[in-house]
């Protein structure tokens, strides 16, 4: 291991993933990195920076420009015993691969009655807030969570990014790994020795008593900011980092809501048919007599992701989440 002596390090989220991939390449010769521009360029976000140089073109593979081909050949490589970690360059470009992901990757293990495994990680930088052009800012996680056979996770910070990637690569199931691209440059301490917990377990990142804010990926930081502002106004918000969208750790949400009796779910994806709907439906069922207010949802609107100059209006913001908190507390 390149960082043998170091127990922990302050890393940007993108760099933490890079270190995690490096670790995986070092420890398991079957791990491969595949995608467009992941080689010399190191990916458009430099997440794979330096890996081809150190592990060669046989393990860090620049692919033809064809997402279905990338996922489809990754499936074949997995059948041969490899553990491909595939990069989709941006959220909006995963759709050409959607058929391979939904009809093949998700279902092949079940189709074979468990006799073959598909240990494939699909990395997708997702979400907005970086002022990009169309198709570079979307949050399609609900379109994967609805599909049985896939696991869907999204880290919110560098430490989770490092460890959840380790766990995703070790998982024998296909994992869709949504990377919060606007947090790529946010730094945090990464401890290389202490696993922060199971891959699919939510985490209370701020304790509170009046209302629960549940989020994952890029929206966790926003929710923490909201909780800070609310605290100044005398309100105690609990913030839950869900970390995993499928499976979703409803137990942790339930525990929190039984305490706070109010829940607001925040994600960038459109509200309609989004993660918030599933959380609201299930938590309302589980906590029907606890809830003082309906579960409220803050997310994108039912419109294509807008041009960059409007994205601040489209995305959940401090004010919009606070507004939902106010509305919930008003019940």
């Amino acid at each position: 291991m390149t960082m043998a002596a170091e127990t922990s390090k302050n890393l940007a989220l993108a760099k933490a993933i890079n270190e995690s991939l490096r670790k995986a390449l070092e420890s398991d010769p079957k791990v491969l990195i595949m995608g467009e521009d992941v080689g010399k360029l190191g990916g458009v976000f430099r997440v794979t920076d330096g890996l081809q140089k150190d592990f060669g073109e046989e393990r860090v593979i620049d692919t033809p420009l064809a997402e279905s081909g990338i996922v489809g050949t990754a499936i074949g490589l997995a059948l041969r015993g490899y553990r491909p970690v595939v990069e989709i360059q941006f959220d909006g470009f995963v759709f050409p691969a959607y058929d391979q992901i939904v009809t093949q990757l998700a279902k092949m293990h079940a189709r074979a009655l468990g006799k073959i495994k598909l240990p494939i990680v699909i990395r997708i930088p997702y979400g907005g807030g970086i002022g990009a052009v169309e198709h570079h800012s979307e949050s399609p996680e609900a379109l994967f969570a609805h599909v049985a056979g896939l696991k869907v996770v999204s880290p919110s910070n560098a430490s989770d990014a490092y460890w959840m990637m380790q766990q995703a690569i070790q998982s024998d199931d296909p994992v869709i790994f949504f990377e919060p691209k606007r947090r790529y440059w946010d730094k945090a301490e990464v401890n290389f020795e202490a696993i922060p917990g199971p891959l699919h377990k939510a985490r209370v990142v701020r304790e509170g008593t009046d209302l629960t804010l549940a989020a994952y990926g890029p929206m966790v930081k926003l929710c923490l900011e909201v909780a800070g502002v609310a605290a100044e106004e005398g309100r105690s918000l609990e913030v839950l980092d869900l970390r995993s969208v499928s499976p979703l750790d409803f137990d942790s949400v339930q525990t929190s809501v039984e305490k706070t009796r109010r829940l607001v779910v925040v994600h960038e994806a459109p509200v309609f048919f989004g993660s918030g709907a599933e959380i609201a439906a299930r938590i309302t069922e589980r906590c029907f007599y606890h809830l003082e207010a309906p579960v409220l949802r803050v997310g994108g609107y039912h419109a294509p992701y807008p041009p960059a100059r409007l994205e601040e209006e489209y995305l959940p913001s401090l004010d919009r989440v606070l507004d939902a908190v106010d509305r919930s507390l008003a019940y």
Partner: protein
């Protein structure tokens, strides 16, 4: 430089509809004859047109036409005469009479199995069956060309290939009966699960082959697909990946002339084997009803793969003699005389003629095989009828390898829900 198309040119605004006219216009005077493949396109079309129109009574004439087609690799004429072919004879030179009888046996048993499955569907034992009738030579020839360490990616019709891979035929029936979605262990025979989403397995095969190359192994991979599948983007992408990574994969296209109700002209206006060239690897058209030719060409292609020469496209020119599946009714869209004409090229009759004329098999062999067929049919019938319905809880199994909280929760709920009936019934 201009690469001339081999397709027929036809003024767009001529009277009548454009669709489906390729067959008749392929001989139009303004078609370029820039290279051999242009002629190929024309000739093939002519042959097919002829096949449609000619009464079935004259297999001999048909034979000559087919045998004379320079673009079709053929080692046995439809009448069962051995044709010399310098390029491909070496790949069958070592075949003993016993080997030849083996190929014959494979085809006969496969056909018998297939017929039994069709019958079982009619009897309600299977929900559906996709018959390979007519494609026995394409499948046995190519299947027997593979080595045990090679890996096969089938579509949903490769029962003959499965046979060659020693997959128990009753295993194939589970998904058609509706008791599983495949379910055999692909790794025990290096024979992947049937894949229903058209074309997607060609990418799996390519990826697998990339892995073989990475491992430094000298195995090869073969991906089966149909003429219809050739239009899918996934197949094109598999050509690109295979070519760019020089993957040891053989793309084996069974052009059985139909994709459900659509003739091959709905998918391409030039012969399919030519598709490979523009991706940087060779394409060959072989007589898909000639088991020797298929065996030879596939062996050649697999050896290319093994020796690092990369992918090959083999187009086996054959015919789907039956309906698309038992749910289909081919009489709605194709003429019976087309089928009748192809009967004259039957792969089994052809090899039998050769075995007999060359004294490679005695009457006893055929009689014994008949008996073996019947017992296979019986075994299959019994096995299918004995196949139990799966336990309802099985639907929760194997969604994930490492488990998933929601699946656990739903399984438990379902079990409790089921138990509530037992309680009631028990009460």
């Amino acid at each position: 430089m201009t690469v001339e198309s081999t397709a027929a040119r036809k003024p767009r605004r001529s009277a009548g509809s454009k669709t489906g006219t390729t067959r008749t216009t392929a001989q139009s005077a303004d078609a370029p004859a820039a290279d051999a493949s242009a002629t190929a396109a024309k000739r093939t079309t002519t042959k097919r047109a002829a096949a449609v129109k000619k009464p079935a009574a004259k297999p001999a004439t048909e034979t000559v036409t087919a045998g004379a087609d320079p673009d079709l690799v053929q080692l046995l004429t439809p009448a069962g005469e051995r044709v010399k072919n310098a390029a491909y004879d070496p790949y069958v030179a070592a075949l003993t009479p016993e080997d030849l009888r083996g190929l014959y046996r494979d085809m006969v048993l496969t056909r018998r199995f297939d017929a039994e499955a069709t019958a079982l569907q009619r009897q309600g034992e299977l929900g559906l069956w996709a018959s390979l009738l007519g494609q026995e030579a394409a499948q046995i020839g190519s299947g027997r060309a593979t080595r045990p360490d090679d890996y096969v990616f089938p579509t949903y019709r490769e029962h003959g290939v499965a046979w060659c891979r020693d997959v128990d035929p009753t295993n194939l029936l589970g998904m058609f009966r509706g008791v599983n979605n495949g379910g055999w262990d692909p790794n025990s025979n290096n024979f992947h699960l049937y894949t229903i989403v058209i074309g997607s397995q060609t990418l799996h095969a390519t990826g697998y082959a990339m892995g073989v190359a990475k491992d430094g192994a000298d195995s090869a991979v073969i991906a089966y697909f149909g003429d219809g599948a050739s239009s899918q983007g996934d197949v094109a992408e598999s050509f690109t990946f295979a070519s760019v990574y020089n993957a040891p994969v053989v793309f084996f296209c069974q052009n059985n002339q139909w994709a459900i109700s659509e003739p091959t002209e709905r998918q391409t206006r030039v012969p399919l084997y030519q598709r490979a060239q523009g991706y940087g690897f060779p394409g060959v058209r072989v007589d898909g009803n000639d088991v020797l030719a298929v065996l030879a060409v596939t062996k050649w292609a697999l050896e290319r793969a093994r020796s690092g020469e990369g992918p090959t496209l083999v187009e086996a020119f054959t015919y789907r003699m039956g309906d698309h599946t038992t749910s289909d009714d081919a009489s709605r869209y194709r003429h019976d005389d087309e089928r009748v004409a192809w009967e004259a090229k039957d792969p089994i009759a052809r090899l039998r003629a050769y075995l007999e004329s060359s004294n490679h098999a005695e009457e006893g062999f055929f009689a014994e095989l008949e008996a073996e067929s019947e017992s296979l049919g019986r075994r299959v019938r019994e096995a299918v009828r004995a196949m139990p319905d799966p336990d309802p809880l099985a639907m929760f199994e194997h969604t994930y390898a490492d488990g998933h909280a929601l699946v656990d929760e739903e399984r438990a709920q379902f079990a409790a829900y089921q138990a509530s009936f037992t309680d009631v019934e028990g009460a």
